[in-house]
């Protein structure tokens, strides 16, 4: 599927996740966040960068991992990306939907 955003044409899956991280940039991230009703702050960007780095190192993402190794606490993570933080943040970060149950 194709999606037009921030002047670019992106490849996305049926749930709206980018299928090619190389197509992502900060402007696209900002626009994707707006679609989720989120105005990105520095804290948001720190989390997004952490998720992207973890993804690039093929490290599985989990809520526990955010709390242990991430830049914010689990509580802050839920506050920054309300209602499904890991899914939402991954979508904005341009990485695949996490398959973790925890």
């Amino acid at each position: 599927m194709k999606k037009e955003i921030a002047g670019a044409s992106l490849d996305v899956n049926e749930e709206g996740y980018l299928t090619d991280f190389a197509q992502w940039n900060r402007e696209i991230g900002t626009e994707l966040a707006k679609e989720e009703g989120i105005e990105l702050t520095d804290d948001h960007w720190q989390v997004l960068t952490f998720l992207q780095e973890s993804f690039n190192h093929s490290e599985p993402l989990s809520i526990r991992g955010i709390g242990k190794r991430g830049p914010v606490s689990i509580k802050q993570f839920y506050e920054l990306f309300p209602e499904g933080p890991l899914k939402k943040a991954s979508k904005i970060a341009g990485i695949p939907k996490p398959s973790s149950c925890i």
């Binding site: 599985p60 989990s62 809520i63 526990r64 991992g65 709390g67 606490s73 689990i74 509580k75 839920y78 309300p82 209602e83 499904g84 933080p85 890991l86 899914k87 973790s100 149950c101 925890i102």
Partner: protein, 161 residues
């Protein structure tokens, strides 16, 4: 509003009545998973389920090796001294590999995720427990009626574990 939105799960109320490790984890993973999906989650700890939030007991919960056909060991062997401990430590090792936290840390994650944790008033009286015996970040002590009060609203589901 589409039919799908009408039928969506919005809140999970889980009742934990047992303290075998497998039941406790099933309950915690369902509650945490709900929060990860943006679904509200609350747990009502009653009867033996209270052991999962007792400071003195929460780190020493066991897998049941007797009366558990899925263990695939003869019931008589399951009752031998040390069998429960062995099965439990094996299970904990496997869980750590999957990044599943132990009970005290899991409770902290649930609290931080916004899940609500309630102790059953009647069961506390039955086991002579005080608030101080329980996990510090508990959201409170409720009667059954008080718990049902929390079930108001569309898309609420109750589950007994």
């Amino acid at each position: 509003m589409s039919t799908n939105e009408k039928a969506a799960v919005k809140k999970m109320l889980l009742i934990l009545s047992k303290a075998t490790l497998d039941n406790v984890y099933a309950c915690f993973i369902l509650a945490n998973g709900a929060r990860m999906e943006g679904i509200e989650a609350e747990i009502f700890f009653t009867f033996f389920g209270l052991e999962a939030i007792q400071k003195k007991k929460m780190e020493r919960l066991h897998v049941a090796t007797v009366g558990n056909p899925a263990m695939h060991i003869p019931t008589m062997l399951g009752g031998l001294p040390g069998m429960e401990g062995l099965a439990t430590s094996m299970m904990k090792k496997e869980m750590e590999k999957l990044d599943i936290p132990q009970v005290p840390e899991f409770l902290e994650i649930l609290s931080a995720s916004g899940a609500k944790l309630w102790a059953c008033k009647l069961a506390m009286e039955m086991f002579h427990l005080e608030k101080g015996d329980l996990y510090d970040d508990l959201d409170g002590i409720l009667t059954v009626g008080g718990f049902y009060d929390r079930a108001k609203g569309d898309g609420t589901h109750l589950m007994f574990i």
